[in-house]
Symmetry: C2
Subunit: 397 residues, 2 copies
């Protein structure tokens, strides 16, 4: 049946395909999942926190009571009760979010793709933090923007530095709470200033918020969405507060934009699993997250402290790092002469892994930076791994 001697095909890829690169992190992860390696490279939440039994009963209940609906095609915008729950959870006294503003997505990574698809033309300027979330840079890169990096300091993004780069910009992307990769949060004053600056420039502000609920003290920062719901596009996710494997996120946007995002989603994958949405709604509708999230926070806070203590003990004095008040990451600034890529080679040889900072920069990278995650490693292994890293840093030539 096979045809005879076909010529091997010569592929002609689209120009945008040339810009696609595998995430450096996902490449590192392939190496570092061996159990003998102490890996601070992961971006995965701790599987110990997954409410497996709760999810299992919810799947059982939804399939028993509404199996044929849950397993059929569903609406592109999402399961209405879940959209309503999300809208309520984001509404504040002065700011009501409507369920119509909520679009369910296949993880919040898909929201990044849809936003890029709808807002970025080739060469469009896109403003990002320095450094920024790698998954966002990857998603937007497909649409071939020109990235402009906005300065950051220890309080996060510096709003006053926007004016100089805003000309022609299509949007600003920010991750204000316990940022990936730095663990830094934007101060409340800066939020207000950032929202005002973007509004003044007619600049859509993307507020990506996967970690907001993971504040170790349990006091969340105010959302920029609520400061200007007509100018902010908010992204949320169930990956860090429930489980990531179900791939469920959402984007909240002003109606003219959310309708475009919905059309883009229809063309991209029709809709996100109804079953998953119904199950998540079943799990969270009676307040489960209020009791569950503190258990995640406490675990991460303890391990973060263990890492900070170990760093204080083992890292040379010419190394500095962030002290996160939530989330999953610590950001390390090495002395200028240390290239974190080279340090990684030495670390892997000593069976410790981390992610070098360079891939998180949209433009000129700072090679002497790295990201550490503490959430999937026990305090004893954290102590051990940090001690090894400290020695390698001190001995680096």
């Amino acid at each position: 049946m096979k045809i005879e001697n076909p010529n091997p095909i010569t592929w002609h890829f689209a120009d945008r395909a040339a810009a696609m690169q595998s995430s450096f992190i996902r490449e590192i992860l392939k190496v570092t999942q061996r159990p003998d390696i102490i890996s601070f490279a992961g971006g995965l939440p701790s599987a110990d926190t997954f409410p497996v039994e709760k999810m299992k009963s919810a799947f059982d209940k939804v399939l028993t009571e509404s199996g044929r609906v849950a397993l059929q095609y569903g609406p592109t915008d999402g399961f209405p009760p879940l959209r309503e729950w999300i809208a309520n959870s984001l509404s504040t006294e002065g700011c009501t979010i409507a369920p119509e503003q909520v679009l369910m997505t296949s993880g919040s990574q898909q929201a990044l793709d849809l936003i890029g698809k709808v807002l970025i033309d080739e060469g469009s300027r896109v403003l990002v933090e320095t450094p920024s979330y790698l998954g966002a840079l990857q998603a937007f890169s497909v649409y071939r923007p020109e990235f402009a990096s906005v300065a950051t300091d220890e309080h996060g993004l510096v709003p006053s530095s926007i004016d100089a780069v805003v000309e022609g910009a299509r949007m600003l992307y920010a991750l204000p709470n316990f940022q990936n990769p730095t663990g830094r949060s934007l101060s409340v004053e800066r939020r207000q200033e950032l929202v005002e600056t973007c509004a003044r420039h007619n600049l859509p502000l993307i507020e990506d918020d996967p970690y907001g609920a993971l504040s170790y003290k349990g006091e969340p920062y105010p959302k920029m969405l609520n400061m200007n719901p007509d100018g902010v596009i908010y992204m949320g996710s169930f990956s860090k507060v429930l489980t990531p494997g179900i791939r469920l996120g959402y984007v909240v946007a002003p109606l003219p934009l959310v309708r475009r995002l919905e059309l883009a989603k229809q063309a991209a994958d029709l809709h996100t699993s109804q079953l998953t949405q119904m199950v998540v709604h079943e799990v969270i509708k009676d307040g489960f997250l209020q009791e569950h999230i503190p258990t995640i926070r406490n675990l991460y806070a303890k391990q973060c402290q263990a890492m900070l203590d170990a760093m204080k003990e083992h890292f040379p004095s010419n190394v500095s790092w962030t002290k996160p008040e939530g989330g999953m990451f610590i950001w390390v600034q090495l002395p200028k002469h240390i290239d974190a890529m080279k340090l990684l080679d030495q670390a892997l040889a000593a069976k410790v892994a981390f992610v070098p900072g360079a891939p998180f920069y949209a433009n000129k990278p700072e090679m002497n930076t790295l990201r550490l995650s503490f959430v999937t490693v026990s305090p004893a292994r954290i102590q051990e791994g940090i001690a090894i890293l400290g020695k390698l840093i001190a001995a680096f030539k």
Copy 2:
């Protein structure tokens, strides 16, 4: 906390967003889901065929045995045992498909989006059947190709008509088995000729195959993938043989392309739910589909026959239609003076719905065509609805 008097944002959408339109079918479906309407408009499989109990036990088993793995982030290319199962199911005596060629997707709609993303530049020529699947036209349109329609007749696409339009084409998209919307299948001779023609022109051939297993006689057509695995991109789905709500499809392609598609998927949504993939693998691994698919086929075959019988009885003699040997759709050719859009208005007033044919044409539409689906309507209601349609067609002025 709200900022004062922000200017309402003036949106600047990407050029491609202007090309996005809501599927006409999904718009019709919103109207026709009222229970008093006899709807032949749907593209949904019959929920009566969903193996709900089987799915429920599989969710229970996977979550009990491997909950923390199933609910964690997973690999972009998919769950290895499921990819292996798919590769085996597609391998023939003369043609082995490797698991590495299989990329799991969030429904086969996502495969369309990824293929468009990786192969289409603005203005690239894309060859499609006349008429073609609407979801594919929508997915590809985002990347702004120039569609060229390839002629079809009662045996499906006419390969000899490719030469005239192939210049500069990036791919040819075909749905050879029980096509949506026409219900037609490509003859075996035509398949061979099509594969050879595409190979001769270095033209990637997309073989979209959601309905292939739904042959009423149980004899599937040979796959073009197996005639030239180096030049054919095959798309499959669990939507029509299991359930669509879980959003699980796959694409099989030569390695250089599948690696690009994987990068595009990583940027688009990281990966498809591990849990869903593990559950589907659990459901099908011991041969469940061989016993399950015949029950779907038999139901659809019976209802298809009921519709064909009713059409013979009630449709005027100047109307012609396809006689599908599988799948979910019948295609109707009305006399030239009848615009199916206008007929739809009259039909809806009489509480019967269908989908006009025009949206399925990439270029010049034939306004006197329409698509009927029989899979979710009982034989009695089919008889009733077709009688009403027949009267409206006969009386149309």
